[in-house]
Symmetry: C2
Subunit: 255 residues, 2 copies
C-alpha cells in the first residue's frame, strides 16, 4: 500500500500530505506553548551529564536520534537528523521505501538552519517567560516540533522533483545556466503561499481554542497560544526554507 | 511561579489541569492514528538490536526514559516511568517541586496496567491496519501518547490528596476499616464522569476535523480519527484507572 502510494507522487498527493503536516506542526506548537520558556533547557552550562557537553535540549535530541536511527527512522528518505554525525546504523530489516528523488540532491539537509530559526526566532514568540522545572518534558516537546518542522521543509525535495518531472523543458535551461533567481521565480506561486498562511492560522485558531460543553464559549475563551505565531512561522521561515530546499535540489537535479 | 501554584492545589486548580491534559491526549491520539498499525513495531522478534531483547516500542520507550531520567524528568512527582528498573539518576540540579503528596502512596505506579491497556485495548481501536515502514516514528507517537495517558491517570494521586484534605472526617473511618468499596463510592461522581466523557468526545471532534479555508466543509469532511475512540478511552479505561489510583492512594493515606 505505502509503496504504491509513494510511487505515484503528484502535486495533488504531495499537497494532501503537506496539509496534514500542518496539523502535526500546530499540535506541536500548542504542546510546546504548554511549558514556559524554561531557559535552563537551553543553557550549555546547566546540566552536568557525564560524557556529554552541551545543553539539555541537545542531549535529548541527539540521544533520541541515536535511538530512532537504530529503530530505522533515517532509512526513510523523508527523515533528516539534526545531528547526522556518528549516527548509529539501523537495526531493523530494510523497508522498500520509494527511491523517488534524484540521488545527488536527495542528501540535502538544512536542519542547521532550521535549528537556528527554531531557537532564535520561533521559541521567543511561542513560549511565555517562566520556569516550571520541567526541562526534560520541554526538550521532548522541542524534539517533536523540530522533527515536524524539518519533515515539512524537507518535503520540498519531493515537491521539486514532481515540479521538475512535470515541466523539465522549463527547468533544464535555468538549471544549466545556474540561474538561481529564475528557478526561484518559476516555483513561486504567491497566491498559494497566501492560502497556506491563511489556512494555517485558521487551523491554529480551531485547534488552539479551549473547547467546553457550553458551545457559546467555544472560540471566545482563552486560547492555548497565539494563532498568528503559526502563520508567522509559515510566512517568515517555513515557506522560505522550503523554497530554498527546492532551489538547491533543482540546481543539482541534472548532476 | 510554579512553586506557588503547586502549593495551592485545589479541586478547581486540578480540574483545570486535567481539562488541559485532555487536549494533549487527543493530539496524541490523532498523531498515532496518522500511522497504520505497523505491527513490526510491537514484534519482539523483528529488530535485532545488540544488547537489547524486546520489541522496537520497548526499545524506544526504555531508551527515551533513560535519557529523560538523566535530564531530570522523574524528579517531578507527577511523572512515572514505564520501565522504572535501573533508571539512571538525574544529572540536573534539583528543582523544588512541591511535595504535596503523602510520602508512602506517592510512589504508586500503575504503568504496567496502562501499558497493557494501551496495546491490548486502545491501539486496535485507533490504528487502521497496514504497514508503512515508519516503525521508529510510530513508536515515538506511542511514547508521547503513553506518557500523556500515564500523566493524566497518576494525577489521581493529587486529586485523592485534595479530596482527603477537604474531608478527612469522611475518609478516615473508611480507610481505617480498609473499606475499599466505601472509599470508591465516596469519590465517585457519575455526573462528573459523564461530563468528562462528553467533553472529550467533543474535543476529539473539533481537534480531529479537517479544517479548510472553505468554512462550509469544516466538520463535514474527512476526520483524522473516530472521536468515539477518545470517549471510550476515557469511559472504559482512563476514568476507572484514575479511580483505582485514587482508592489505592487513600487506603495508604494514614500509613
Amino acid at each position: 500500500m505505502a509503496k504504491a502510494e509513494e510511487n505515484v507522487y503528484t502535486l495533488a498527493s504531495l499537497r494532501e500530505h503537506l496539509i496534514r503536516q500542518e496539523d502535526t506542526i500546530i499540535y506541536g506548537l500548542i504542546e510546546r506553548a504548554k511549558f514556559p520558556s524554561n531557559s535552563n533547557t537551553y543553557d550549555d552550562k546547566y546540566a552536568q551529564i557525564p560524557g556529554f557537553s552541551g545543553s539539555l535540549v541537545e542531549f535529548v535530541v541527539k540521544n533520541a536520534e541515536d535511538v530512532q536511527a537504530k529503530a530505522g527512522r533515517y532509512t526513510n528518505p523523508k527523515e533528516h537528523p539534526f545531528f547526522p554525525e556518528n549516527l548509529p546504523p539501523s537495526n531493523v530489516p530494510s523497508y522498500p521505501f520509494s527511491q523517488f528523488l534524484h540521488p545527488g540532491p536527495a542528501s540535502i539537509n538544512i536542519n542547521k538552519s532550521i535549528w537556528k530559526m527554531y531557537f532564535q526566532d520561533l521559541l521567543p514568540l511561542l513560549a511565555t517567560s517562566g520556569d516550571d522545572g520541567n526541562y526534560a518534558q520541554t526538550a521532548a516537546a522541542d524534539l517533536s516540533l523540530l522533527q515536524a518542522i524539518s519533515s515539512r521543509i524537507h518535503y520540498g525535495k519531493f515537491v521539486a522533483e514532481v515540479k521538475f518531472r512535470d515541466a523539465p523543458q522549463d527547468y533544464e535551461p535555468l538549471i544549466r545556466a545556474k540561474d538561481r533567481e529564475g528557478v526561484m521565480k518559476l516555483l513561486t506561486f504567491t497566491d498559494v503561499e497566501e492560502t497556506v498562511r491563511k489556512r494555517v492560522e485558521k487551523k491554529a485558531t480551531v485547534f488552539g481554542q479551549e473547547v467546553s460543553l457550553d458551545s457559546d464559549n467555544d472560540g471566545n475563551g482563552k486560547r492555548k497560544f497565539d494563532p498568528t505565531v503559526a502563520s508567522r512561522l509559515y510566512k517568515n521561515w517555513m515557506i522560505p526554507l522550503t523554497k530554498e530546499i527546492e532551489v538547491e535540489y533543482l540546481l543539482r537535479r541534472l548532476d
